[in-house]
Symmetry: C2
Subunit: 167 residues, 2 copies
DNA sequence: TCCGTATAGTCAAGATACTTGACGATATTC
DNA sequence: GAATATCGTCAAGTATCTTGACTATACGGA
């Protein structure tokens, strides 16, 4: 139980990226645990990442592909899983024979509702921990950061190599 | 190119967790791209997550396992990869015949140095985007959040189910 | 109207990053 | 010394992503 070397003092990271990563992981772990405790056993981080891009009113699968920062095949596989779990369903798009509409099932909407509640609970916990002022500053800074950036999509699209140079 | 439905207006997420996640992903994507551009082709997010827990002076593999929020087998596999890449090396622990010491090779230390530089560049970019004041508030809030929490490890350890109830 | 091309989605195969389970070797404790 | 715990490894399986190849539908002219 005795720490023989005080490695804590030896340059473990403390920069924005690391902090953001830790904070993000902590939030996700807390949220996912609460969701599963609420009976949504199908909930995973990867699925959450995708669901975040599906508005309550539904969307086209192709729109989803544009927004999320992964390949269309990845989106498809995640949707396959969510569909199998009964969280979302896919319908043919009446306006485009090629397209599919993705929308929530009752089960999915229930999960969203629970998610909203949990989200607020976590926020309350954060405010308790760091104070309302700091919390507001945090959100403000994150929003500014997001707005100031061409956002993740461009970056990843660029990295991935412009599927179609629609110049 | 015409947006037929204005889905933007339909409840896409805007809460701390989502913002943190997006910000974290953006940071990592930027960092990883810069690292690879600098010749560290072996660099991946998962490896970065582990390296962040290895102090420059090295550490015991078991200490690494305690700190990182994944299973010991995952840590091992990541170390296997890093060792194969020549980034770290493992030596027997002279003080405990069971243990192994993990430390950086020259190549690893070079990568850390480059990483530090890139990290500062990214920070500079952030400050340009949102201003020094907001940036300071961001870091301050993240630090407070981290300090206020029993941190990620307890949570994940609890979730995973207490390998050994060392009561 | 028909043809070329772009777009939406699917199928298949493989890589990476994890997981749990089982195990051998060394320490520790009594 | 013997029971027990810890450290690391080996093996096998799962989730999440990737690239490549393909089908079906839509669209924009000649």
């Amino acid at each position: 139980m005795v720490k023989e070397l005080d490695e804590k003092s030896d340059s473990l990271p403390d920069h924005v990226g690391w902090r953001l990563w830790q904070a993000s992981r902590a939030w996700q772990a807390e949220f996912a645990a609460a969701m599963r405790a609420d009976g949504h056993a199908w909930f995973t981080d990867a699925r959450a990442g995708l669901l975040g891009h599906i508005p309550r009113g539904g969307t086209r699968q192709s729109a989803l592909i544009e927004r999320s920062a992964v390949s269309k095949q990845a989106v498809q596989q995640l949707l396959d899983g969510l569909e199998a779990e009964g969280v979302i369903e896919r319908l043919p798009d009446p306006r485009d024979g090629r397209g599919k509409l993705v929308r929530y099932t009752r089960k999915g909407l229930d999960a969203l509702r629970d998610g909203d509640r949990i989200k607020l609970q976590i926020e309350r916990g954060y405010i308790d921990r760091i104070g309302e002022r700091r919390f507001a500053a945090l959100v403000d800074a994150l929003r500014a950061l997001d707005a100031g950036q061409g956002d993740l999509l461009e970056t990843t699209a660029r990295i991935r190599g412009e599927t179609s140079e629609s110049k």
